[in-house]
Amino acid sequence: MRNDTASANDILNKRPDKIPAVNIIGAGLAGLSAALALARSGISCRLVSPMPSERAQSVMAEGGINAALDTMGENDTAAGHFNDTMNGGVYLADPDAVWALCSNAPETVRMLLALGAALSTENGRPVLRSFGGQKKKRTAYARSSTGKILMTALTDAVRRYEAEGLVQRYSHHRLHSLNIRNGECFGARVLDLHRRVLSDMKGSVILASGGMNGLFPGMTTGSVLNTGDAAALAFVSGAELANPEMIQYHPTTFPISGKRCLVSEAARGEGGRLFIMRNNARWYFMEEKYPELGNLMPRDVVSREIELVRNDKECSGQVCLDMTALDRAVWESRLSDLREECIRYLGRDPAAVPLEVSPGIHYFMGGINVDKAHRTSIARLYAAGECACQYHGANRLGGNSMLGAVFGGQTAAKTAASEIIPDNAGEEEIAGGEELEIMQPAGVPDKAAELLREALGIFRSGEKLESAVQKMQELIDNENDALQRNRMILGKAVLLGALNRKESRGAHTRTDYPERDDAHYRKTTIAVFDGKEIAVSFRDIQSERGEAE
């Protein structure tokens, strides 16, 4: 028998010079990226997650990561990436933040390549493919498992610092509460899911906890671990939410038991075509309506068009994605995972027959409000990745989420490192007990889920939203469980964001306000909870890059 390695590492980690002053909640791409950046600067941190990195939603990401690497001879530039991202987000994103993202994207991808990330290459250079809303081939990928391949590279890189004690892993730990006093964060209380004990972890906190899937049980393509509870905790503790109403419906998903399965945009990037039957003939509606980008229009546009044609009286049946003309080599080299999923969970081979697809919730552009440096409105509380609102405006482009998570994690880490209070460190076990519930429902109660589902679809109306807000408040008033109450307060903030934004933009389409209204709403929706009420306002954003500098 060898020595117990956990004990050995515990001893190693308790060395006085390695007491962490930064706590990262979430061990996906954003959390790992933050941990790596801190460790490379010699700063120790805790990496807290309910399961190891291998179980994070990031491993599910298929499509790719955007960067103007210009390996395809198309004269691509960071400025082109910036323009497409701003345009795709319908000018609701912060241009300075987006420029930082896009101008650093090639370096970000090169950093991942230097970790041995097995992105697809030709002649030693990454191959780039087409993704929606982009005018150049800009998306580096690893067949259809890009997220998994990047996560493996980052996990291996962080492991080295775990052994040095600079990154202290707390897998099977869940955020219980945030220690926030007078607008400042002093640490996090976490629950050990195996030992059923609570610990207070002092220091600043970087939330990297993923999207708000828990508000829409069964409707999202992501992990059931990403409940949105950390965002809910931050919100009820006083942190601002930004653009919570901006919810991306991915146009091509299909239902599997308990959730939705994604058909990656790569399927259309490789030549997949959407059609519906009209007057007994296939109507390739995207190609007819949008001759330039066709099936590769931004996701919000494609999802709306699918909804419209499904309700068109001249059309019949469901929208289908036809991938039968794709080469065998494409299936084998680039879409192998996708094909296997379709066969396993749908019982259909997409290489042989068109697939019925419909929109499903895929990404939350909105979330915890952060500035360019990833600070939230609470001092020493930071957020990165999908739980934060940054980079994507009213609609995220495919390939920008993994980029935003990696770059955002790095940026949050740099900011946190520069604002550390050395005395606020350490850890204290405070309580344990059988009564601590380790199995929680992954989503809001059924009635709340129904309200959110009905009111926050692709097409929204003031009437429905107003009614849902009232009913949600009744559910909140009658809920005794603190966790579900927090989730429903978060849900109400999303409803209020959608109700107050009286225009249509990106992923937010109001049937009663079908036009985009830049004069009033080219602004960030801000929701704040004061302990009783949620206040919603709209905050100006700079119109051009560099104005705020």
């Binding site: 390695t5 959730k259 396993r344």
Partner: protein
């Protein structure tokens, strides 16, 4: 279709556990064990077929579509991902669902697989210097990146036991990614570790063949890594020998 699910229930490692039988009905033939467990946990009152009510079933899941390895468990005695096992695969209508037995139990179907990650750390599966998945080694590094760290291969391995010196295929596969890309002192460091905790301990029983839920070509990766490690070792030894003869 009615299914009887015999599910292992155990409050914690210090209490005795037993199988309890739950009835689950569905019209769909694509329902997985993971979906059934989720549905059972949504019931207001979770009662077995004898009417005994208990708390929610403690089990782990995340992606629900075979990408994360969280839901590994024994299904009819075979280690599988619950999200990959359809109820309808079993024609008898009865399934036995229990935790992996090689790892310390936490509760019900949840085990503590921390040893997998501790072993990777102990084996020093990382690179100090930059490595690149170039055209030559890209396929191998991609394949070796896909390991879910679910533990299914360890469950069936006659040579793996928690705390023993053989770390199993869940360590071999990630190490293969690095060995394929590394050179110099980093390679030498990992090569030595590999020899110690992989090569020396694997009994070549091939029990892990066809068990990987991700379908990773474990044998291919191991053959390649063994060859790289041994060839390097052999070359060095020969080089030392030659140099010794020359001096």
């Amino acid at each position: 279709m009615k299914y009887l699910l015999d599910i292992w229930r155990q409050r914690d490692k210090d209490t005795d556990g037993s199988f309890r039988t739950y009835l689950y009905e569905t019209d769909s033939d694509t329902v997985t064990v993971a979906s059934a467990l989720s549905e059972l946990n949504k019931r207001k009152e979770l009662a077995d077929i004898e009417g005994v009510v208990s708390g929610r079933i403690v089990w782990e899941c995340s992606c629900m579509q075979k990408k994360c390895g969280a839901c590994a468990m024994l299904i009819n005695g075979k280690p599988r991902l619950a999200c990959d096992a359809r109820l309808s695969d079993n024609k008898s209508g009865r399934l036995r669902i229990e935790p992996l037995r090689k790892f310390p139990l936490v509760a019900d179907l949840t085990v503590n697989r921390q040893i997998i990650f501790d072993d990777l750390r102990q084996m020093q599966v990382w690179s100090e210097s930059d490595i690149f998945a170039d055209d030559r080694n890209n396929t191998v590094m991609y394949e070796a990146s896909r390991c879910l760290q679910c533990g299914c291969c360890l469950e069936v391995c006659p040579n793996f036991a928690v705390g023993e010196k053989f770390f199993g295929m869940s360590a071999m596969v990630p190490a293969s990614r690095l060995l394929a890309g590394m050179t110099g002192s980093s390679f030498d460091r990992l090569r030595k570790q590999y020899g110690k905790v992989i090569t020396d301990g694997c009994g070549k029983s091939l029990a892990c063949r066809n068990i990987c839920p991700a379908g990773i070509d474990i044998e291919g990766l191991m053959a390649r890594s063994n060859a790289a490690v041994l060839w390097k070792w052999f070359s060095k030894r020969r080089s030392r020998h030659d140099n010794g003869n020359n001096t």
